[in-house]
């Protein structure tokens, strides 16, 4: 039976991916810094292996007997106390995983990137071969872009690596800092999230977790080495997002629309607060700037080449709401 290593198996995507692979009958090794992590799924086909992507020896150890790797581990937050953590985890960590995979003779690796490497869209949804037209003020996007360049170097050396680029992922999973949609939905259900940014017409692409997980597995199966595949969902405005949330949850709140300029001003205060006190910011200016843009993405390539399927947004939201209601 094929043995597979998953990094980031306690993360939002990696956790569900680990479970899906285990349910398909694969032997899955789950690389964890803490093998007692509460989000690590217990399953007869999942073997937790203690290790860290910043420790190449531990990756090499975990890779024993494996023929495939899913590298989903990343620093996917808005802010870290030590800004170098983004570079370390996302770039050095990725280099370590690929270096170790090369030495271990791994057949194929799927690297989880993000649609954030393209960032904002102009009029039409962005597709894989299109350029990024703004800079990289957001640390997460910057370091994921740098990590993709690292991946490309290994591909040029002959390694079989496929890149997948999920958009804004939502679904049934733990509410953590990297699960931004989950945080928003959970807050809405509890009556704590009452804000619609700007006029609410800004559009983003929302990908349902199970689609993204299936997309990963399809990329391992059919993805062309060195290619990137956007794994997205529907393009939805904030207004549509919250009206769907209202319809699917049955919970209605009076929402307040806060102008982008005011959010930007507030985020600048937050940055000053963070600089002085070291406390995590609630929002940062580079994210406030993003509220001026749409983030539409096209999954056409993945649909054509990988057989990627998109669950309707309303359906995905219904399941997410039910899940979050149960844990609330």
């Amino acid at each position: 039976m094929t043995k597979i290593l998953v990094t980031g198996s306690t993360g939002f995507i990696g956790r569900q991916l680990t479970l899906s692979l285990a349910n398909m009958g694969y032997d899955v090794k789950a690389l964890c810094r803490n093998t007692a992590h509460p989000y690590l799924i217990k399953h007869k086909n999942i073997e937790p292996v203690k290790g860290d992507i910043l420790d190449i020896k531990s990756i090499r150890n975990a890779l024993q007997g494996c023929s495939q790797v899913y590298h989903t581990a990343a620093m996917a937050k808005m802010w870290c106390r030590n800004p170098d953590d983004f570079l370390q985890t996302n770039v050095t960590g990725t280099r370590n995983v690929l270096e170790a995979a090369g030495l271990a003779g791994i057949n194929k690796t799927v690297y989880t990137s993000t649609c954030g490497v393209w960032g904002p869209s102009t009029k039409h949804p962005v597709s894989e071969d299109e350029p990024r037209i703004v800079g990289f003020p957001i640390a997460y996007e910057r370091t994921k872009h740098l990590a993709e360049l690292q991946v490309q170097q290994y591909v040029n050396q002959g390694m079989n690596v496929v890149i997948v680029n999920p958009s804004r992922v939502f679904g049934e999973g733990p509410v953590t800092d990297s699960n931004t949609v989950g945080k928003m939905v959970y807050g809405y259900l509890k009556g704590k999230w009452r804000v619609i940014p700007g006029t609410g017409v800004q559009v983003a692409n929302y990908a349902y977790l199970h689609d993204v997980v299936n997309g990963h597995i399809a990329a391992m199966d059919k993805g062309i080495p060195g290619n990137r595949y956007i794994l997205g969902g529907e393009d939805i405005s904030f207004n549509e997002f919250f009206s769907t949330l209202y319809v699917t949850s049955g919970t209605q709140h009076r929402m307040i629309r806060i102008p982008q300029k005011l959010i930007k001003f507030y985020s600048q205060l937050e940055r000053v607060k963070t600089k002085i006190t070291g406390l995590p910011p609630f929002f940062l200016p580079e994210f406030a700037d993003r509220l001026k843009f749409d983030q539409r993405y096209s999954s056409q390539k993945a649909i054509k080449q990988l057989g990627y399927q998109i669950t309707p947004f309303t359906e995905g939201m219904k399941r997410t709401v039910n899940y979050l209601k149960a844990i609330a």
Partner: protein, 275 residues
């Protein structure tokens, strides 16, 4: 009615040039984009055509070949395009001791940073329509004003651009052409800069800009006919200080900076991945 303008942008496939292209398209200005063969120029041109209502011609040409200059304008003539804006953006930077780069590198750098903008400007003025205001934007650098170690040739080429631009401003002050010099500080463009610039703190960080912000400020300034465009308050302050501080103080500051650079270099280079 404002006539539909056409702009030539050199070095348009990446970095600041790409941002110029997008910023001009956003303002409804048609484009003639020039970049090296094998760059991602065509992808950018396609993207702009799809998302904006402008005409885009893309020419993949090496600007260090002497036939390229006339080729560009022959192409425009054949297409019945008059260029109203020329942005001399293409350039080659370096951050190295003089002995560390080859003879061919410096030759290429001087050709691209000095000869190319001069000759393109000459040919651009030939075809400009005197009835419509034309614009020339030369991309210089704050480095053209300050003597910075490890920028010996680059800084010298940018000093050349400063003199050239200011002199043209005098010569052509009565004509229907507005000439601007853009003198940016650091810009986040190449991968290694993305890593290095984001390690800067405090005042140093305030001198660094995103390319799209520089492009916006530059085009605003160019259309207003500003003689010199310096993005950023700190950068402008540095220019003012430069003009009032006595020479020996400036020398002291630069020597101190050099010491810092030498000290921190080994530390930084160690942690930057190679691209």
């Amino acid at each position: 009615m404002i006539p539909k303008l056409t702009a030539i942008v050199t070095g348009a496939s990446e970095g600041l040039g790409k941002s110029f292209a997008v910023e001009l398209a956003r303002r409804d200005i048609d484009l003639v984009l020039i970049a090296l063969p094998g760059s991602s120029l065509e992808a950018l041109a396609t993207y702009i055509r799809k998302n904006f209502d402008v005409k885009v011609s893309s020419l993949e040409k090496d600007l260090t070949y002497s036939e390229t200059y006339t080729d560009i304008f022959t192409f425009l003539k054949k297409q019945h395009i008059t260029a109203h804006i020329l942005i001399n953006n293409a350039g080659l930077g370096n951050w190295s001791w003089f002995e560390d780069k080859s003879v061919s590198f410096y030759k290429k750098q001087i050709e691209l940073n000095v000869i190319t903008p001069v000759l393109l400007t000459r040919l651009f003025l030939d075809q400009a329509n005197p009835a419509i205001t034309s614009y020339l934007l030369n991309v210089g650098s704050l480095g053209g004003l300050f003597v910075v170690p490890k920028k010996q040739v680059y800084g010298a080429t940018k000093s050349f651009i400063r003199y050239f631009t200011q002199c043209l401003q005098l010569e052509l002050s009565d004509s229907n052409i507005k000439i601007s010099l853009l003198s940016p500080g650091g810009i986040n463009t190449k991968p290694e800069l993305l890593v290095l610039n984001n390690r800067l703190r405090g005042i140093s960080k305030a001198t660094i800009f995103e390319a799209e912000d520089v492009a916006k400020i530059a085009i605003d300034g160019m259309l207003k006919g500003k003689k010199e465009i310096i993005p950023g308050v700190i950068n402008r302050l540095m220019v003012v200080l430069n003009s009032i501080l006595p020479g020996f103080v400036k020398n002291l500051i630069i020597k101190n900076r050099l010491k810092e650079i030498l000290k921190s270099n080994d530390k930084i280079i160690d942690s930057v991945p190679a691209y």
